[in-house]
């Protein structure tokens, strides 16, 4: 083998990484294969030695973006995620709002991915399920199954919808809307009166007032 074995794979990952950022920032339709290759420091001609098609790249970029967002959001919220509430507060942060290229690809591309071709839709469905399972694992084990399912579904829905809506609003209204979503989830997930689920209570108040634009 004339080339180092890991060289091609490393190049491929550079392309995927560039694509994951560009797609999330500008949308899948506005970013061309040439744009991605240029961002990866290559020319467009070599693209098809790495991928069968742009859709093939998109599916890979989606998986990469999910892992990437997960990493970046953990960095935001301090080392330990703590509970479901902590995850939601980090997600609904101005930092996430203002950096879609390093954030959740569902919030950035969800609807257009759902309209995509089969491999893309399959990857999206798999990643959503994975995300729900991750959130599920963060809820205290003593929580009843039905409550747990409702909390993970409701929390993820509120995160994705909240971020999308905030990004669609006027700049001056965004921070307040994110705070309202955070407060709503704090109430809904803590639910001290039902006594069934008490999640991440200790850090919620602190985060609620921490804005960093």
């Amino acid at each position: 083998v004339p080339w180092p074995k890991e060289h091609k794979q490393a190049t491929r990952e550079r392309i995927v990484e560039a694509a994951a950022a560009a797609f999330r920032r500008d949308g899948t339709a506005q970013v061309g294969v040439s744009d991605v290759m240029r961002a990866a420091g290559l020319t467009h001609g070599g693209f098809y030695t790495h991928f069968h098609s742009k859709d093939d790249l998109l599916a890979d970029a989606l998986s990469h973006a999910m892992a990437d967002a997960h990493t970046n959001l953990e960095r935001l919220g301090g080392k330990a995620p703590g509970g479901l509430l902590d995850v939601t507060q980090a997600y609904l942060s101005p930092a996430h709002l203002n950096n879609p290229d390093r954030g959740c690809p569902i919030a950035a591309l969800g609807p257009e991915l759902a309209r995509g071709k089969q491999p893309v839709r399959e990857t999206l469905a798999r990643e959503i399920r994975k995300r729900l399972n991750e959130l599920d694992a963060v809820v205290p084990p003593e929580t009843p199954d039905d409550v747990r399912k409702q909390h993970t579904a409701g929390a993820l829905a509120c995160m994705v919808g909240g971020l999308i809506l905030a990004r669609g609003m006027r700049k001056s209204e965004r921070a307040a809307f994110l705070s309202d979503c955070q407060a709503f989830l704090k109430e809904a997930l803590t639910a001290p009166d039902t006594g069934r689920s008490r999640v991440g209570k200790e850090t919620a108040t602190r985060r609620r007032h921490a804005h960093d634009q």
Copy 2:
């Protein structure tokens, strides 16, 4: 004037209506001016006597789609919306899931609209604010202002995110996820223990079990 005065306006509205449906079904980038004109029973050449550009049409189609979705969702939930909870239950329904072309344009196109050009972004921001105000008006007047703001923000976020996520999942998982989101919102918005907000309680249970695919 050689033509009836309302004729041109009626044609223009036919184009906007066709565009509002096509954009929501297939996305703004996948639907061409020719597609829209053909759906309206016209040829593509006449488009620019009605609109300055495709973006101009998109802004109009967005406003039209919001009003259209509002009408259709009211039809789903019986005549009287009742409360905030009722609105959310109608929104998170299989009927809405399966008919994006007649549903909420934020759930169908939100992220790509937020990346659009200024007039489109302005229209999106205005429509989101309008929607929040409509939801606000449906919350009982005795509800404290901060709770009201959190409920409307959280509910809308959960609606939009819930629908987007459900559309991204495998068909077999969608209905259960929607139900989980509905149950989450029922808990969060009813919140019987805080005693501050008791919204749409009477119809929630019935709706919760009504699926129509």
